[in-house]
Amino acid sequence: MKQNVRYRISAAACDFCGVCVAVCPAGAIELKESSVRVLDELCVGCGDCAVMCPLGVPVREEAE
């Protein structure tokens, strides 16, 4: 993971379509029937999920 950068995917806003999983270079997104989460320990912080999501759901968070 890039230092201090994380991505969050809100299950409430997500349609579970899998585009983020398809483009993730690190296999860092876990998708089930109606749940989705970013595995921080695998995430490389590239942001491809946020760019390609049809709904713009993944958001970047920067820690202090």
């Binding site: 270079p25 029937e33 390609m52």
Partner: protein
């Protein structure tokens, strides 16, 4: 439910069901795990296929057909409309019914289905894939298999778990949003394709009529467009423009792999099929027919390899070879055309439309369109020429 099968299929879409059916017909014991609670839902698809193409692959049931269209209407950025009726009709499916029937046909052949069953990992034995771990209604259990067929869609995890690079990088995927709308006036009679930077930059928007003044209205765009505006927002604009006041019955998001043909879709004990193997047309994004073609080949190969007791990557390569022979060239060609068509500026698209509309409608055959393109639009024509000859 037993804890072993010759073939385990992950995913109950058309690719998975058709692979399951052909493997079962060829004598293999088959289990299919679908993560969603119901086969066929949610419908993450524009639902359009070539009627002739579908008829060549399966006996079509009337209940699958929402509507048949006799041709297409292409709309250029400046509003120029070109209708084209290439002789083949299009079928807009009820995917919910279609998928459920394909699964039932596979079950009829002997495959055992389980829904709301999420495969969370692969079992390995001496490096080869030897089964799956399944999560079903809070229970976790393992199922041993001689071959696992990954038909788990564009978000495929099965291939990645087996060590294949199944990532679809942003440049090879279209990000899509679609609404099923009611109350269109008038009821659309042709499939519509809308092009241009205002509607779907670098991609296209579609209106696929489903009958009774309803239609799937959606669009897909590449990475560059996604960086500027999200597909869902582009779709809201398009709905406002194309069908103001229409009711939205369904919203859906999705992604379509638009990739060059790929051969690394097998490993020891593993086969990928459908969107998981990036088998959709990179030009249109259509994946249903290719899923059926590849599904059948995958199922036959899997059953044969189980029977002969050799499920090595090398033996499963027969599937890759058969798939490439069937569709490899088409995908290669569509990929080349895609790069040109979706790279055209609004001005160039308007020019193509004007050229085409100068051809009398009854003469708008593929050959005439090609000749016009050849004369007026060398860049496009050059690629088409290389593609077809």
């Amino acid at each position: 439910m037993t804890d072993r099968a010759d073939v385990v299929v992950v995913g109950g879409g058309p690719a998975g069901s058709w692979a399951a059916r052909s493997a079962a017909q060829a004598g293999a014991s088959v289990m299919v795990f679908e993560k969603d609670r119901e086969i066929g839902l949610p419908v993450r698809c524009a639902e359009g296929v070539s009627s002739r193409g579908l008829e060549g692959l399966v006996t079509v049931r009337p209940s699958w057909i929402a509507r048949e269209v006799r041709g297409a209407k292409l709309v250029a950025p400046d509003g120029t409309v070109v209708t084209a009726c290439p002789g083949d009709t299009g079928t807009v499916l009820h995917r919910k019914v279609f998928d459920a029937d394909l699964a039932a046909m596979a079950a009829e052949a002997g495959a055992v289905f389980l829904t709301k069953a999420c495969v969370t990992g692969l079992l390995r034995e001496n490096g080869a894939v030897s089964g799956v771990r399944v999560e079903h209604l809070g229970r976790i259990f393992d199922v041993a298999a001689k071959i696992v067929i990954g038909a788990d869609g564009v978000e495929s995890a099965v291939g990645r778990w087996a060590g294949l690079d199944t990532r679809t990088p942003p440049e090879f995927i279209a990000s899509c949003a679609q609404a099923t709308v009611a109350g269109l006036d008038p009821d659309p009679e042709l499939a519509e394709f809308h092009f241009g930077s205002a509607v779907a930059p670098g991609g296209y928007a579609w209106v696929f009529p489903k009958g009774g003044r309803t239609a799937n209205v959606g669009l897909g765009v590449p990475e560059a467009a996604c960086r500027v505006r999200k597909p869902v927002d582009l779709l809201k604009d398009f709905l406002e423009r194309r069908c103001p006041g229409a009711s939205v019955l369904t919203w859906i998001a999705g992604g379509v792999p638009l990739c060059p043909p790929r051969g690394d879709i097998v490993a020891d004990g593993l086969i990928l099929v459908g969107d998981a193997a990036h088998q959709a047309s990179p030009l249109t994004g259509g994946g249903i027919l290719n899923a059926l073609i590849a599904g059948r080949l995958a199922g036959e190969t899997a059953a044969g390899c189980v029977r002969r007791g050799d499920v090595s990557k090398k033996a499963l390569g027969a599937y890759v070879k058969a798939w490439m022979k069937a569709e490899g060239e088409n995908i290669e060609r569509d990929f080349r055309i895609k790069k040109v068509v979706y790279g055209l500026s609004d001005e160039e698209l308007n020019g193509v439309a004007r050229t085409l509309s100068a051809i009398p409608e009854e003469k708008r055959t593929a050959a005439e369109i090609f000749k016009a393109g050849l004369f007026k639009h060398p860049k496009l024509a050059f690629e088409m020429f290389r593609s077809f000859f």
